[in-house]
Symmetry: C3
Subunit: 146 residues, 3 copies
């Protein structure tokens, strides 16, 4: 089992990993995104889509070309299980917006990520991601289309 | 006084404690909530209610059966005072919603938690909680009642 | 180079520094704010204003006397570069409101702080601050002026 110092370091590295996940998605750094996942990542955005594999995830990100997203995660509850395995829960607020769509505007969501992490070649990566949204607020008509 | 490693571990454990407090409240894990408090916890939600005791707090949580809440805390500023005492300030945004009420909808609040913590039998617990809200936004009529 | 323990301590101290920056701005603790900056801090709020020097920053804060602000930062991605230098990126949501203005209400912004830090006389301080907002929501007419 890890000693306290190694455990605290793992937790900080996983927090940074998740911060980068959100930032790379929101700022469209799709090229950097794939490297945050294990090759065999299982992902599910509950009620919307699910899949497996880092290429699948990063590839599906192309679908997002016509949308904007703004993720804010907080309240990490991370448990290090071994030198190479951990799991965590993150509270989330996000905005998904479709600025060019004629029929849909977007929403603000509140939920939790339930995740697992593995350390691969010295770097922590997301190996499993489940997002459950508990509240959805319709964005209404955006300013620029009123 | 604690050495740096023990101090950092205490801070991480207190962050996790607060994350769980918010999550257990929001997801209605009332059974798990009580264990996060010292028996003699003093709590005050300024301008709304205050009381003392973990049973009192957990018991009053039953009043919340007809409401939904969504807490997001961030920006922890935690000071470890000794091996068994700490204090902290957390920024907060919350949504309190009354989905079945005919007359009130709910609000979004912005404020700060001012808290004290004690380590009891090896676990950090909240021993004092004061919430001060600095901004309240009326939620307006929720989508499902328009 | 720092060992792991010193690095983790630096990261925690910088997180606390940023938490205090936001809290001191929002709660108008202008006297405490200046001490969080290096004397030669370079700051830019993109598209709005920029300047140099802790006195300049703290002095310009007087302009804020007629506004309210509510900052929430999360997702710190902090890299310690040496014993006295670090850099970090923070996700931000803020509300800027002008409660007494007859013509402007305010906005909710989403963005990132890109910052540099220096350790001076044993304390980490912000030496460079760039805020880029990626989304602005008009607040609309506030409740108290409808």
């Amino acid at each position: 089992m890890l000693d306290t110092l190694e455990e605290l370091r793992a937790i900080e590295e996983i927090k940074r990993l998740k911060a980068r996940y959100c930032r790379f998605v929101d700022l469209n750094h799709r090229d950097l995104l794939r490297d945050l996942f294990t090759d065999d990542i299982a992902y599910e955005f509950q009620g919307w889509k699910k899949g497996q594999g880092a290429d699948s995830f990063a590839g599906s990100a192309k679908d997002f070309a016509d949308r904007l997203s703004f993720h804010r995660v907080s309240m990490p509850d991370i448990e290090v299980l071994s030198e190479t395995r951990a799991r965590g829960i993150w509270a989330m607020v996000d905005i998904i917006e479709y600025p060019t769509s004629p029929e849909k505007t977007g929403f603000r969501g509140y939920g939790y990520y339930h995740e697992e992490y593995r350390k691969v070649d010295g770097s922590w990566k997301i190996s499993s991601l489940l997002l459950i949204r508990h509240r959805i607020e319709d964005l209404g008509v955006p300013d620029n289309r009123r």
